[in-house]
């Protein structure tokens, strides 16, 4: 089984490759590091295009050489330069050829350091990829021997959320990692002009959180019945007046991976980032995996087997 890393040909490369290496080590998978270059134009007059193609190829080769240096020798890894009309299509094609299970991408340079930001390629894949997509925060770094130590699942107490927890519990168990179920109670501040004090909205958030905790307990009981369990299982509720505050509140460590589900608004087989998940992804300080609903189902079934 394989994991495809989309390799940017600039300073972002090392973040993507390091993330890929960490995930491959945790899940014990092979790596395919892939960079996509545009295809040549149809043969025509002048042949000036060949020179440009040559330049691109050289750039791609250099990027691949640099990436090679970042992958530890014991990790089975392939390095691919592929030609495709779009980067997202190229990555998906390579992923299909290698029967990959996971697509790993870095953040766009447009975002803040240490936060996940998606550019056009990631945006496209987050709304169409048939396999789970992992996005690293901008400037992600880790030790060569680093592994995923804890998987945090964003749990919305809505339908389908429980399945995601079970699916990721299975993944965490295989990776020898802990599981954390996290809910985010995001309510704006009470407008003081309403004349009802500054805390009226906190009461609403607490009520919501009480429901969420109840659902968290239920899903953790389900996890406890799985044949193979994560090394530890816990839950957390983050409060905040916005998503950033709420996500920050639950605390994050090195080796954390955050998982969010796909929206029911999208097709079953593909990743489709909903509005809520999108906000979670954008404010995540750790790598995020977005799982399509069909893959969630498959993973959950696999977790429940044996």
């Amino acid at each position: 089984m394989t994991l495809v890393v989309g390799l940017p040909r600039d300073e972002r490369a090392s973040a993507a490759v390091q993330l890929g290496v960490m995930l491959a080590a945790s899940l014990d998978e092979d790596l395919v590091v892939c960079t996509v270059v545009p295809p040549p134009w149809p043969p025509g007059m002048g042949r000036v295009d060949a020179e440009y193609q040559d330049y691109l190829d050289r750039g791609a080769q250099e990027a691949v050489e640099r990436a090679r240096g970042l992958v530890p020798a014991e990790r089975a890894a392939a390095f691919v330069v592929t030609r495709a009309r779009s980067t997202s299509a190229g990555l998906l094609q390579v992923a299909q050829e290698h029967r990959a299970r996971l697509l790993v991408l870095g953040s766009s340079t447009a975002g803040a350091l240490g936060r996940v930001a998606f550019g056009s390629v990631a945006d496209r894949l987050l709304h169409s990829s048939p396999l789970p997509v992992v996005l690293g925060p901008r400037g992600f770094r880790c030790r060569p021997a680093a592994r995923v130590r804890r998987v945090t699942v964003a749990f919305g107490a809505t339908e389908g959320s429980g399945e995601l927890v079970v699916a990721l519990a299975g993944v965490a168990a295989r990776a020898g990692a802990a599981l954390r179920v996290a809910s985010f109670a995001v309510r704006p501040r009470t407008p003081l002009t309403a004349g009802i004090g500054a805390h009226a909205e906190d009461a609403v958030a607490h009520e919501w959180a009480a429901d969420a905790e109840h659902a968290q307990r239920a899903v953790l009981e389900e996890v406890a019945r799985l044949p193979q369990r994560p090394s530890a299982a816990g839950s957390a509720v983050g409060y905040g007046t916005d998503w950033e505050e709420a996500i920050e509140e639950i605390g994050w460590e090195d080796g954390d991976l955050l998982a969010v589900g796909s929206s029911t608004a999208g097709p079953l087989e593909r990743v489709f980032l909903g509005s809520r998940s999108s906000r979670i992804v954008r404010h995540s300080p750790v790598p995020v995996v977005v799982v399509p609903r069909a893959a969630t189902q498959a993973l959950a079934e696999r977790a429940e087997r044996r």
């Binding site: 002009t193 500054a198 009520e207 009480a210 429901d211």
Partner: protein
Amino acid sequence: MATLLQQAFRRKPVGRAAAETDDDGRLVRSLGLFQLTMIGVGATIGTGIFFVLTEAVPVAGPAVIWSFVIAGVVAGLTAVCYAELASAVPVSGSSYSYAYATLGEVVAMGVAACLLLEYGVSSAAVAVGWSQYLNQLLGNLFGFRIPDALSQSPEGGGVLNLPAVVLVALCALLLIRGASESATVNAIMVVIKVAVLVMFVVIGVTGWNSDNFADFAPFGVTGITGAAGIIFFAYIGLDAVSTAGEEVRNPRRTMPVAILLALLTVTVVYVAVALVAVAAQPQAAFEGQEAGLAAILEQVVGASWPGTVLAAGAVISIFSVTLVTIYGQTRILFAIGRDGMLPRFFQRVNARTSTPVNNTVVVAVAVGLLAGLLPINFLAEMTSIGTLVAFLVVSVGVMVLRRTAPDLPRGFRVPGYPVTPILSIAGCLWIIIDLRAITIAVFAIWVAVVLVWYFTYGIRHSRLRPAATDPHEDAR
């Protein structure tokens, strides 16, 4: 076994109330004098001034100016008392929460009945006023008006005030989706409201005609206080300053100054508007005038544009007032529900939107019905009486607490005790007794209904019930 009386007057332990709402010390005291004053001005202007003259001038004549001053002074006194109570009880919330912590459960339910008027009925009144200005705006811009059948209450010759109902529904929808008014939006709304009112004064003053003051107080003092009762409605919101205490830096000094400044600003604007309005047209012209301020401006200038600008400002700012008022109502019901005095239905929070959807829908339906079917003067008077009684209880609470807990640390103390609370109580009573008999009767019935609810349901489901099983737990 506690007697009924003991049960009815049990108080919510303060520690418990604080633990429920204050989960973190993250809240920093961030408000200075200016922001606090702006909160007061923003919460106050806009609830009444746009349509209250139509109702108040026929009652008092041009002497309505004094009604504004009287209502303002009483509002100021009550706000100062409210500020002490709010600072003495480390609970966050409305006068319901303060009454619960200091005066007992049954009083809190009485206050809750008043708050349903202060918030629920006032949002209906505001929505009706909004529909008048919307109609004015539509008429001026597109030459099209919503027919009376669909924009008047049955008493006013219509079937249903549809725009008011639509406004309420729209606000409910926004609230269900989690909308809220930020400090920035409040600031923008303050600017819009004050700007259109200043425009009204500046343009309207050109139509000054001293002859209109000829019969200054046709109905004497009774007329003036009677109008003050209606006008008190326009001062609702000043208490927002009092409840913001815990976010205020140096509340002991800032609080009274902010209340005073906000009150002064609001009163000056109101009196100026009232003065210009009564000078611009004979008092007989006020009765039944729709979108009053816009109509007066058009008359003075002889063109429609100033009315259009004013109506647009009113439509935008009254919308935000309705949103905040309905919001306040839902959260007050939510608090009552959390105390067990309403069925759990009212405190359910939707998992997806993380807002109390049931609660919001119930409030919206009730407010929508009131706004669609009742005339504005009745709604305004009901709001006034509810607010006045709530404030009266607050002022009594200040005096009770000084007696029962003299050593309680208070972030803010009423200056001139005990004169101030006594004046505040007297002022409220003075205005209340001059309200129409029907208003007082309906109010009494309403409070009775709420108390019957309390003694049949609330008292048995209260979370303060001895050895009560946590209703939280057995519902799950």
